[in-house]
């Protein structure tokens, strides 16, 4: 009976021991999982490593923990540590570190006798047992080092945990790497947006430079004849002044009224006041027209340069943008290009008019540069429904989701030299240009493409060599429209 009791007790103890092992493994698994979540929630690399250390502290007790990474052949360097004294310390790769790098976690019972620590005696004051665990970081094997103050603290149980931990860290670090890349990607995205913004501004200024001569001409012409009118007006002023002075004398004289009227009429004829008034009327109207032309050009320039990217409520009138852009290009197209406009009434579209103007000016300038004699520029605006959009932009993502919204479009067609088929796929890439070196940045169409994307639109091109090219830009029409 006693023997049976003892056997039962022994079996119970064994079951408890196995249960303890199982619970330890489960606890370890839970910690790894929660640790993974903590690590992946880190917003910065520093927080990420801190979270890693915190997780590991719950799995493998340590006084100090640090990471050794490859430095030069035969040496590693401490990159991250919970104790700043370890940072940047240089470690000779001895047999233990070598084996660890080959993938075997290793527990050292007394660091003070291990060769790698011989040049770091000041650190062994607080370190006795050490556990080395390899892990893959950025496709290179690094070592995470756990230190304890008690000799022989780390046993094969810790090595087994470290082995499981190694597998975990490799998986975690893959996730961490993805996380870091995501963080980096966000940073790069912001930088890219900044660069693109800068490029857009540069291109805008370049376009302004290109347009400047024409715009100046467009402003100069009305200013010239306004000036001429004012010269003429100045020439009329002495006659008018004498006429008014003599008329004033006649009116103040003692002459009878009938005599005064006859004298004033004589003066009216003498100074040809009727012709003068007709000229003044004409000068006034001409000058007003000239001033209005200057105002229109200035408005177009303002529309071109306005920057209301941050205004989410900003809207634009596509036809007005066409008009503004043509106005800015008027000097370039005058007399040499036949422009046909077929503009349908469109609702207001969401976005920055300045960006649209820049798109249109870029496309029109390209068209004008592609044409020689008998140039014909055809500008069309209108509506497209979903199937037409699908046909026009077959790769567009917005149609794969089954969106059936209406779109507005503007098509700019020229009868220029056309673009070779093998180059069509590249024309929206940055730094692609068919112009001679030094004459084109290769950024115009790339920026045009970027601006259209930013406006939520799409751009496509069809072209035939020596026949002509047509760019079609589409914009979604907001449902509220």
């Amino acid at each position: 009976m006693n023997n049976e009791t003892e056997v039962l007790r022994e079996n119970f103890a064994l079951i408890l021991r196995l249960k303890e092992q199982a619970e330890a493994l489960r606890k370890e698994s839970d910690m790894l999982l929660s640790g993974m979540r903590d690590i992946l929630s880190a917003q910065t690399p520093e927080a990420l490593y801190q979270n890693m250390f915190d997780v590991f502290a719950s799995l493998i007790p340590y006084q100090t923990c640090f990471i050794l990474a490859h430095e030069t052949p035969g040496f590693m360097v401490c990159k991250t540590a919970t104790d700043s004294r370890f940072l940047d310390t240089k470690w000779a790769v001895d047999d233990v570190l070598k084996r660890t790098l080959l993938g075997t976690p290793t527990a050292v019972f007394n660091a003070r006798i291990q060769p790698a620590w011989q040049t770091l005696e000041h650190l062994t004051e607080t370190t006795a047992a050490v556990l080395y665990c390899p892990f893959i970081d950025n496709n290179k094997t690094s070592i995470i080092v756990f230190c304890a103050t008690e000799i022989g603290f780390y046993t094969q149980m810790h090595v087994a945990t470290a082995e499981r931990y190694r597998e975990f860290t490799e998986q975690t670090l893959m996730s961490v790497q993805a996380k870091l890349e995501a963080l980096q990607s966000q940073k790069l995205k912001k930088e890219r947006e900044q660069v693109e913004l800068s490029m857009v501004q540069s291109e805008k200024m370049a376009s302004l430079g290109l347009l400047a001569a024409g715009v100046a001409h467009e402003i100069n012409n009305p200013l010239a004849f306004v000036n001429s009118n004012f010269d003429a007006l100045s020439g009329y002023m002495p006659s008018l002044a004498k006429f008014f002075a003599k008329t004033h004398c006649v009116l103040k004289s003692e002459l009878p009224s009938e005599e005064k009227l006859l004298q004033i009429e004589a003066l009216f004829n003498e100074y040809d006041i009727e012709m003068l008034m007709e000229d003044l009327q004409e000068i006034s109207e001409d000058s007003k027209e000239g001033i209005e032309r200057v105002c229109d050009i200035v408005k177009s320039l303002q529309a071109f340069t306005q920057d209301n990217d941050q205004d989410e409520a900003a809207v634009f009138d596509l036809n007005q943008c066409v008009a503004d852009s043509l106005r800015l290009l008027k000097s370039k197209v005058k007399n040499t290009v036949s422009i046909t406009q077929n503009l349908q009434k469109l609702p207001k579209l969401k976005g920055s008019a300045g960006k649209v103007n820049q798109v249109l000016v870029n496309l029109m300038v390209n068209a004008l540069q592609a044409m020689d004699s008998s140039a014909q520029l055809q500008i069309t605006t209108g509506h497209l429904d979903a199937p037409e959009i699908q046909q026009l932009h077959p790769d567009s993502e917005c149609h794969t989701a089954g969106v059936t919204e209406q779109h507005a479009f503007v098509a700019i067609r020229d009868n220029g030299c056309g673009i070779a088929v093998d180059k069509l796929d590249s024309i929206f890439e940055p730094f692609f240009t068919t112009k001679p070196i030094g004459e084109g940045t290769g950024l115009g169409l790339y920026i045009t493409y970027t601006l259209v994307q930013a406006l939520g639109g799409e751009i496509s091109v069809t072209s035939e060599l020596n026949v002509g090219t047509e760019f079609t830009v589409t914009f979604p029409i907001p449902f509220t429209s």
Binding site: N2, E6, R9, L16, Q21, A107, N110, G152, F153, T155
Partner: protein, 399 residues
């Protein structure tokens, strides 16, 4: 990893050795690597230790750790078994593992120094001089085991499991031996540090039941107890054990009388199960002091334990199975190295064959070697290394 066990019970020492050597060679030949990493040898001191030593060390170039075992040693091989073979050998073939042997002569005045030296030599010889071993197997001369264990921990820390037993002779006359390749002596502490390539499982247990009798030891000196519960230790013990030592209350050897009534030190584990580290009274002084096989601290609290021959017969199988059960899942056990208290072995007498049969039935044909020792070292669930008496331990090897 592979384990080859061999035994012989031949009366002629030369033939004894040749039998074992032949078995070991035949066993190792079936593996790609025929080289043993280590041979753990237990023998009956009825045979000339030097002859055995020279035969084995000439036959094999690997390190050897040898100790005498009380009235032979237990062995199970794939082709047979013997509970008290005159020579039993546990050979480890583990090309990816690392093993190192160290030894030192134990000076009674400074046993910890000997333990440190032996441990330093072992770790140095292991090929892994800085790595924490998976396990330490030890052979000690009886007498100062606690101090020797403490000496080990001064080198490698207290957390590496230490298993093994104190070398034994056949009649407690002090004719025990320890040996390595380099030396044969009677006062050596031997250390084998193990860095096996695969997992180990281990178990350390007694086969005894606690009674309701609690005893507090006083007037203690090393391994002697002057008083139990304030009374003459021999008389008090005798009173609680139905006069088991009444013939020796004024002095005498009581080893055989006390085997089924050891003193147990409660060891609480974090799991809530109390384990007992046993101390075996071996003699009584003229003053009625009770002498044990392990050191006693002043005011040490004991629980009087009780055992039975049946329990001791069955116990080894349970301990062996426990060691196998704690191997990591999926590991195939390839051998078990055991320690069985010589006091228990002497108590069960001829039932030692039944004890072996129980092991065989429990674990199947896994190779086993067990030594019968005068003191057992091991660690309980709390992970602390201890020296006890009347204990059984097992270390399971796997691949």
């Amino acid at each position: 990893m592979n384990i080859i066990t061999a035994f012989s019970n031949h009366n002629d020492t030369h033939q004894l050795c040749q039998d074992v050597i032949a078995t070991l060679r035949k066993g190792s030949a079936q593996y790609d690597s025929e080289q043993f990493n280590i041979l753990v040898v237990y023998f009956n001191v009825d045979h000339d230790v030097h002859l055995i030593h020279s035969a084995l060390t000439e036959a094999f170039t690997c390190p050897v750790i040898m100790a005498s075992s009380c009235q032979g040693a237990f062995a199970i091989t794939p082709t047979g078994q013997h509970p008290t073979a005159n020579l039993s050998v546990f050979g480890i073939i583990d090309p990816l593992g690392h093993y190192g042997v160290g030894y030192a002569k134990v000076n009674p005045a400074s046993p910890d120094i000997a333990a440190q030296k032996a441990m330093q030599m072992a770790v140095s010889n292991s090929g892994r001089p800085y790595d924490a071993p998976s396990l330490v197997w030890t052979v000690m001369p009886p007498g100062q085991e606690e101090a020797l264990i403490a000496g080990f921990s001064q080198i490698i820390g207290p957390n590496v499991p230490v298993f093994g037993g104190s070398s034994a002779d056949n009649d407690v006359s002090g004719n025990w031996f320890q040996a390595t390749c380099d030396v044969v002596a009677q006062d050596l502490v031997l250390v084998l540090v193990m860095h096996p390539s695969s997992a180990l499982g281990y178990s350390y247990s007694s086969g005894y039941e606690p009674t309701e009798v609690n005893l507090v030891a006083q007037n203690c000196s090393a391994r002697k107890i002057g008083l139990l519960n304030g009374q003459n230790a021999a008389h008090e013990y005798n009173a609680h054990t139905c006069g088991s030592i009444s013939e020796a209350l004024t002095g005498g050897v009581v080893l055989g009388n006390t085997t089924l009534h050891p003193l147990g030190r409660p060891i609480d584990s974090k799991m809530g199960i109390t384990e007992y580290l046993l101390s075996h009274p071996d003699s009584v002084t003229a003053e009625g002091e009770l002498c044990l096989f392990s050191t006693v601290a002043e005011n040490q609290e004991f629980v009087l334990m009780k055992g039975s021959i049946e329990g001791l017969v069955k116990r080894a199988a349970v301990v062996a199975q426990n060691a196998l059960d704690v191997l990591p899942e999926g590991r195939k056990p390839v051998g078990i190295l055991m320690i069985y208290c010589a006091g228990c072995r002497l108590t069960i007498g001829d039932d030692v064959a039944a004890m072996q049969q129980a092991v065989l039935e429990q674990i199947g044909s896994i190779p086993v070697v067990a030594a019968y020792t005068f003191g057992e070292q091991g660690c309980f669930f709390d992970g602390k290394n201890r020296h006890g008496n009347l204990m059984i331990s097992a270390v399971a090897f796997s691949q």
